[in-house]
């Protein structure tokens, strides 16, 4: 038996279903019951109950692509802030191979990079890497921080939402799975994109968002925007692997 409906807003401790159901993300089993551990929206798929959190910290997982900022240079690695309780390290060998070089000739404290999470161990030590298409240091542009769970909403089904913003503002946009977004274009357009992205973040849990985003873009840019087939990513379950073209920006 299930005691809640899809898209209900629940809080930690709320009883969601009994043992006819399976536990998904954001829930836990207690005796015969499945309860919510977070503030979020219920998602019911077949017999699985999950809670999609409205607020959460990014916990790095292997394979994620993230945007990080260099905070320290050590003997043979850089330390990075990846918008997480856990900082990451990038081994110098990733950049220099076997040669020994001065690390700060490549990257310095304050540089912002697009990286892949190579490995996360049991105590959450995060190893980062730069081998991959499109990974590397950002030049210019601005950074916007959103709650990591809202990344799928920002991207949209098959990238539809983020592509609409890119097309209308003519900006390059790269979304890290850790909730950090990089936008580069004409300075005014960068700010338009920023406003839209912040609005999506605040309203990610609501419906009818695509229309409101289109309207906001029209207003800010002073023009009409065609209603294309935009598929709204309404299910923010698993964070999808970003498409190749998104990594390119």
């Amino acid at each position: 038996m299930i005691f809640v409906e899809d898209k209900d807003l629940v809080v930690p401790g709320d009883v969601l279903a009994d043992d006819e159901y399976h536990t998904g993300r954001g829930t836990f089993r207690e005796g015969k019951n499945i309860c919510s551990s977070l503030v979020g929206l219920v998602a019911v798929r077949d017999k699985k109950v999950s809670v999609i959190p409205l607020q959460s910290k990014y916990i790095p997982k292997r394979g994620d692509v993230v945007i990080g900022k260099i905070t320290d240079i050590r003997f043979s690695m850089w330390n990075l802030d990846v918008n997480s309780p856990y900082s990451g390290f990038l081994p110098a060998s990733d950049v220099f191979g076997k040669e020994k070089r001065d690390l700060n000739k490549a990257f310095d404290v304050g540089d912002v990079l697009f990286l892949r999470v190579v490995d996360v161990d049991e105590v959450k030590k995060v190893k980062l890497g730069l081998k991959g298409r499109g990974l590397g240091k950002f030049r210019g542009g601005i950074l916007i921080y959103i709650t990591p769970t809202k990344v799928p909403r920002l991207i949209g089904k098959k990238g539809s939402m983020i592509n609409m913003i890119k097309d209308e503002t003519h900006c390059e946009i790269i979304v890290g799975q850790n909730g950090v977004v990089w936008v580069k274009g004409d300075p005014m357009m960068e700010r338009v994109a920023e406003k839209v992205i912040n609005m999506i973040e605040k309203q990610a849990h609501t419906s009818g968002l695509t229309d409101r985003v289109r309207n906001m873009l029209s207003e800010l840019l002073g023009k009409e925007i065609e209603e294309e087939e935009i598929e709204e990513e309404t299910e923010a379950e698993e964070v999808p692997e970003p498409e190749e073209d998104q990594i390119q920006g």
Binding site: K69, D81, G110, R139, G140, G141, I142, L143, E190
Partner: protein
């Protein structure tokens, strides 16, 4: 004291905007963010205020106590300013005794209020040389989004204007304090402070947190209602030029008039 490392691209983008006379949040170089002041928010305090500039938020409480005056000024009351940069206000604020940022802020606010002569301290004398009113002003910073000094001074003046203290009289050689009949503090002047940040070679008013994190220097100027300058403080690692100082004073004279309109 923890420090936040600013991403290089953020530093560049903000600096470029400012060099073009624009700011990241769309303000003009001399604009303040939204300001709000509420007074009388803490009943147990004899005076109180809650001030917000942008998302920077400070609670201010005034508590009077009877104490002995300083030996060199036996017939005036005392204003004591203390500030707490609460750890909840920012990930860079740590719990513990006030650090150098907190102490600097409290002393700058104190000097502005004291030299601005906000209070008629002589009226706070009860028995010359023996008993005076000590006005404790406590700044409780609960949310930090840049520019604490201007918010602190603005809120302090509002809180002092809101303050009522008990009447204290000498009757038959005894000090009688009447808590029931409180009278408003005598407010003499309304000095306010305006802070400008130097980014590149430009000066901007009311730096946001992002702007403060990349600024080279800041100049805070305290101006009284009568237009005179009563306090100044330069901060930050970079030097400033004579022209920049004079420009800061000019801007502050104008902007403090606007700020004063927010007082109740």
């Amino acid at each position: 004291m923890a420090v936040n490392i600013v991403p290089e691209i953020t530093r560049k983008s903000i600096t470029e905007l400012i060099e073009n006379g624009e700011r990241a949040d769309g303000r003009a170089p001399l604009d303040y963010r939204d300001i709000s002041i509420e007074v009388g928010v803490i009943d147990k305090a004899e005076g109180s205020a809650r001030v917000k500039i942008g998302n920077t938020q400070i609670m201010i409480g005034i508590k009077p106590q009877i104490g002995t005056p300083f030996p060199d000024t036996p017939n005036v009351g005392v204003l004591m300013t203390n500030s707490e940069l609460l750890p909840m206000a920012s990930p860079t604020f740590e719990a513990g005794p006030p650090d150098e940022r907190s102490v600097e802020m409290a002393r700058v606010v104190d000097r502005c209020l004291r030299e601005g002569k906000v209070l008629d301290l002589e009226k706070l004398c009860i028995i010359e040389g023996e008993k005076v009113w000590m006005i404790f002003l406590d700044l409780h910073v609960i949310d930090y989004d840049g520019n604490l000094i201007d918010a602190a001074v603005l809120g302090s003046v509002a809180a002092l204007m809101n303050t009522k203290i008990p009447t204290a009289k000498v009757e038959d050689d005894e000090l009688v304090v009447d808590e029931e009949n409180k009278i408003p503090l005598s407010i003499n002047e309304k000095p306010l402070m305006c802070t400008l940040a130097k980014i590149g070679d430009e000066l901007i008013v009311d730096p946001s947190l992002e702007e403060e994190e990349i600024m080279g220097a800041r100049i805070s100027v305290g101006i009284r209602e009568d237009g005179s300058i009563c306090a100044m403080q330069k901060g930050g690692e970079d030097p400033v030029t004579r022209d920049q100082v004079l420009k800061a004073v000019e801007s502050a004279s104008e902007k403090t008039k606007e700020l004063r309109e927010h007082l109740p």
